[in-house]
Symmetry: C2
Subunit: 321 residues, 2 copies
């Protein structure tokens, strides 16, 4: 197969073309028509074999996850994803069937998310990697950033925390017979697009939880020039995570990483509206703490006592390097 | 160094912020303001160590080239580049000084090209790779595509052909003491932004020459549903390439690859305007042939005799895989 036949093979399942696409794969560049008055929202994310996924992942799951993590950031910006580009680095050992399945998994999420593949690049390499650039749009007054949180805002989070990290732990021993919710959270995270698309009407700041709650909340606080209190007992945990012994569940929820849930700072007067929007979108939403003046993050236990922070604050790809 | 310290180190030389940047590196996403009435032009390109560059490259040259090749496509679309994102995959052995020099080389080209780094991603990996997504804008009536060429259009090309491929040949033996024009064409290609930004007013179709003239002209013809004739004697060659023996120079010009020059199909009535624009931009421009009805590419020698096509039509990253 030549480079061009491989490109054809990969792009085949992405047949659905959304609005605003003037030129897609096959031209030098993608040409797309922005909606008037919107800001362009762009993000690039890369998944590398042996770093972000291993042999326990099915090809479809690799394709799904590569797009999902880059869409998650667009959700955290309060935007509506529209288009994306994929740079694929393929080792010679990756056969065409594997490549077709990667594309299939990515195309399924793209179709459900109403985003269109508009361009890409293919090269050979020693290890498989997928670099996805997502492009979205947002009304200027609804764009969410990490800065913008104020003392008094409440902290709300979608879904449950710690599952993906628990799933990663299970997968270290190979793909389990029963793919539990935690394993699924690791393999095929679902970006919170429906709530992301409206979150900018309610939240003052947002971030998606990729590196772990403490680390990502730390970014938000630093950028906003504020501090935060997290109520340990309020953290939303799945049954699977809750079943863990000792402080294990809390550690995963605070610092596990790869949750791809949205963390929102919300002024008190807008909470009712946000909760109604989440209800309409069918997205679970939990209050986990509050923004305070000053700096730093405190995790509070029963009765408001301060708990020690876990030694490992979050996921750092360099920690093992 | 943590992930975040490395990101700081890399982004430091990109201090110049261009127009339209609402949020750049440090937020979940980049937020940029498109100009009203323009199409968004996007492109992703990836350079991988051992595939696209080797030990003869200085770090600054790697940074330059990674951005240059992704800008070249925006020029071929007739657009004005505005912003870009960089996904870096770094082996543990890459030290901070090397990384800072990669950034420096990329930042110098970005500054000269008036494009702003607005986002990125950093991960570790076994081999160094740089994936650059460039974002530009174009008036809808000036957007250039591969389709659009008509029989009777003339074929024009910027600069000279075959240099980068000759430079690659020289570099195979290690970095030469004297960096000639050919070596420079391989190490630090200069994207044709100034002529690209106005080419859409004159040309009917365009492509940037990355895979070699025959292969890229083949894409243009296929997309446009036409054929082409190339006058071998008219191909613009540097002194260095012209000095080669036998058919070597012609082979490099036709199929060497990595020229990053623009190939333009131009209706006869617009040639004078294009030449004036190229003159103002200081870009050499040469007529090399014409678009014809039907399909296929013929290379014509002295007196219009048809020459055999080289066996190797262009650069295919899979040919060695």
């Amino acid at each position: 197969m030549t480079e061009f036949q491989r490109i054809d093979l990969f792009t085949r399942p992405f047949e659905k073309v959304g609005a605003g696409v003037v030129a897609g794969p096959g031209d030098d560049c993608a040409l797309t028509a922005p909606r008037p008055g919107r800001l362009l929202v762009s993000k690039v994310d890369e998944l590398v074999e042996g770093v972000h996924f291993g042999p326990a992942f099915r090809p479809e799951e690799i394709g799904h996850k590569a797009l999902a993590v880059a869409l998650s950031d667009l959700a955290a910006a309060g935007s509506i994803p529209r288009w994306f580009l994929v740079a694929l680095a393929l080792p010679a050992r990756i056969d065409d069937r594997f490549l077709a399945r990667v594309a299939k998994g990515m195309a399924a999420l793209a179709s459900r998310s109403s985003v269109t593949l508009v361009g890409g690049n293919l090269t050979r390499a020693g290890a498989l990697s997928l670099t996805v650039t997502t492009l979205g749009e947002v009304r200027p007054d609804e764009a969410l950033r990490r800065s913008g949180a104020d003392a008094g805002d409440e902290l709300w989070v979608t879904g449950t925390l710690g599952d993906a990290a628990l799933g990663l732990r299970y997968l270290a021993a190979g793909r389990p017979k029963r793919v539990t919710g935690a394993v699924r959270a690791q393999l095929v995270p679902e970006p919170r697009l429906s709530i992301g698309a409206v979150a900018g009407r309610y939240a003052s700041a947002a971030i998606d939880l990729s590196d772990g709650l403490l680390q990502d909340l730390g970014h938000l606080c630093e950028r906003s020039g504020v501090g935060a209190e997290v109520d340990a007992g309020a953290l939303p945990l799945s049954k699977e995570v809750r079943r863990l012994e000792g402080d294990d569940a809390l550690g995963l929820a605070l610092a596990g990483g790869e949750d791809y849930e949205l963390l929102l700072a919300v002024p008190k007067g807008r909470i009712a509206g946000l909760r109604r929007a989440a209800g309409r979108a069918g997205v679970p939403l939990t209050r986990i703490g509050r923004i305070v003046a000053g700096g730093g993050i405190r995790v509070l236990g029963p009765g408001g006592s301060e708990l020690p922070l876990p030694a490992r604050r979050g996921w750092d790809p360099w920690s093992g390097a």
